[in-house]
Amino acid sequence: MMSEQPIPETSDGRLMRPGRAAGITGYGAYVPRYRLPATEVSRVWTDGKGGTPVKEKAVAGLDEDVITMSIEAARNALARAHIAPNHIRAVWVGSESHPYAVKPTSTVVAEAIGATPHTQAADWEFACKAGTEAMQAAIGFIGSGMAQYALAIGMDIAQGRPGDALEYTAGAGGAAFIIGPAESSLCTIDGSYSFTTDTPDFWRRANQTYPEHGERFTGEPAYFTHIVSAAETLMEATGTSAADYRYAVFHQPNTKFPVRVAKLLGFEPRQYETGLLVPNIGNTYAGSAMVGLTAILDEAQPGDRILLVSYGSGAGSDAFSLQATELLPQRRESAPFTQSYVQRRTVIDYATYARLRGKLVMK
């Protein structure tokens, strides 16, 4: 059911809305089962002293990568979408840990789910928000009439440099969204806005194993400036405020940042708690805000409005205003809930984690 209220335009067209309304036809999450407690990281690196930014993080197994994880999330999305996979006209995977620098993740995923050969496929990169721009492009495909359905995935198997502050939080997981016509969707997408600047807060060169970052520079000038700018502009352009949204979900690199930005924007715990998965699975980078959205869709009621704002280092934020439809409660039962992935846990120690993540020099 679409919102009855007309959405005001900004005069310079900052709000991005297609001519033909789009929405989420199906959605699916994937989080690997292994968990490394943050206390394990501090046991090895800080003698057990000092605070931890999350409780634990998800760690992928030996035979998992962004391809395998994306396939499972995509299958969950298909299960909820109730469409034939060969009706998908674009398969897009956003990640900062694609298995190859050249050779797309998306073609393997497309073939595995039965979307080939009559489909567009491409890999996306924008640090931790590579999935949401694939969503925006998918909205464009549907909204222009170029396709009925497009699949946008944000998935990561993030590497944290041993001993670095980010090792506590660099997790694995993500989500897949099939974007289709709004009138048959589980959740309409009412508008999107992107805020982008040249801000080098976090980066990795092609031949580096681990990323580097600007320490405190990653906070106020990076994460907070971009998320706040994107959220405030989107809300202004849509004539909404924090109180109009039942749920809000932000990029979640740790527990403190999304909670602080939520409060800055006027949101209360009851609005942001459902989507806040980082304490238990860590920062899933490209999938971070998106997997939070799946947890929200697992419980949202028809008519509930949702604000989603991602953040990618380098830097930029994509903000979306969404609204759950009457089709959501029944169709979401067709695939595992995100919380069931979160609760499916096998705790490991640091040594096992080092082995699983390829940190042991074998040659």
Binding site: K49, G50, G214, E215, R216, F217, E220, P221
Partner: protein, 387 residues
């Protein structure tokens, strides 16, 4: 000294993480405020206090750069570097030039930009203030140096673990009403007790936060002050720079800080004043141990008792010897070489009765001191309000 030297203008930027502002733009902000405060005086000489720009901004030759960038192209200009004492030592050069009659109006600019590099680079750059061949090469950091002194001090004087807590408590309390301060929240004793350890026994509240900042003083003779000045005139009544052993292991008695003692004695002698005349002391508090040792070196407390002044309220704004009156390095922030200039500016604001809520009552005479390294350079100045 032949001519009297007085402060004609003061300019300060807030101390903090100025991500968007470059080294030269930060300096420019302070320069513009200082020149305006000085009522149109044009300096003939510029002394730049800076210690980290070559390492952290790949920029040396700051005298030429800052003169050029601030519209003073052509004036005599140079950088003065003495680690943490750079600000006081730069002021000394300005005082000498004016006292000797070589220069009529001088600008002292303290500027430091630490937020363009990761913290490991800042730590390496700071370590160049120690003995490179015998201390830094072993991995000694400035925090570790201070920690060793603090450990020895607490042991020798059988002081409790929280003996130095009062220094950060006082600093944070004073910074609440300083709009230029980096941290403007008071802290509680429990926070000190549970603070994470930086370098045992030194915790995060014993260490001032390195940050960006720029401070300017315009100095001249009394007869060249613009007539439209509305503030009381503050004179530099005493100015002294001394040095001591650089490496900790070469100091026969590291807790006595002989350079700090001598600099203060010389400055007082020049001014014709005694310790009893001093009503506030802007001291070196980059680490809390230096605050305690500075009070003892100056003679405000006997050896080993400096920490007690922090416990019994003597260092508060209404106490016998207020320190860190605008928050000190601990709460106002620690902009490296610029700190010595901030200290003099803050003391001058006190004597000019421009300190607002931080005003020390009836302040006429102030002592200001900054240190390089673990007391290897000491620069002491005595400021006196005229009239």
């Amino acid at each position: 000294m032949r001519n009297q030297v007085v402060i004609a203008g003061i300019g300060l930027t807030p101390v903090g993480e100025h991500w968007e502002t470059s080294l030269r733009h930060l300096a420019m902000e302070a320069i513009q405020v200082g020149l305006t405060d000085a009522g149109g005086l044009r300096p003939q000489a510029l002394y730049v206090a800076n210690s980290l720009a070559p390492a952290l901004s790949r920029q040396s030759h700051l005298g030429a750069l800052m003169a050029d960038f601030s519209g003073l192209r052509g004036v005599e200009a140079t950088t003065i570097e003495a680690a943490g004492a750079s600000g006081g030592v730069a002021l000394r050069q300005a005082v000498l030039a004016i006292a000797a009659g070589a220069v009529e109006v001088a600008m002292v600019l303290g500027v430091e930009k630490v937020t363009d590099q990761p913290s490991s680079s800042v730590e390496s750059a700071l370590a160049t203030a120690s003995d490179a061949d015998y201390e830094a090469v072993q991995g000694l950091t400035s925090s570790a140096q201070a920690a060793m002194l603090m450990r020895r001090y607490l042991h020798e004087h059988q002081a409790p673990d929280d003996a130095l807590a009062g220094f950060s408590l006082t600093a944070h309390h004073n910074a609440v009403s300083n709009p230029n301060a980096m941290f403007r929240r008071a802290i509680k004793p429990e926070q000190y007790a549970h603070a994470p350890v930086v370098s045992d026994p030194l915790n995060t509240f014993d260490a001032a936060p390195m940050a960006d900042g720029a401070a300017v003083l315009i100095l001249t003779r009394p007869d060249t002050l613009p007539g439209n000045g509305s503030h009381p005139v503050v004179e530099i009544a005493g100015s002294a720079v001394t040095t001591g052993a650089l490496a900790l292991h070469d100091q026969p008695d590291p807790l006595s800080m002989p350079a700090a003692q001598a600099a203060t004695q010389q400055a007082l002698l020049q001014s014709g004043l005694t310790l009893d005349d001093i009503q506030l002391f802007e001291l070196h508090d980059r680490f809390s141990i230096y605050a305690a040792l500075s009070l003892e070196a100056a003679g405000f407390a006997p050896r080993g008792a400096g920490w007690q002044l922090a416990q019994n309220g003597a260092i508060s704004l209404s106490g016998r010897i207020p320190i860190s009156t605008f928050g000190g390095s601990k709460a106002r922030g620690e902009p490296g070489a610029a700190t010595g200039v901030y200290q003099v500016a803050e003391a001058a604001l006190q004597l000019q009765e421009r300190a607002g809520e931080n005003q020390v009552p009836n302040a006429v005479i102030a002592l200001v001191q900054c240190l390089g390294g673990a007391g290897a350079t000491a620069a002491s100045h005595v400021l006196r309000r005229q009239g």
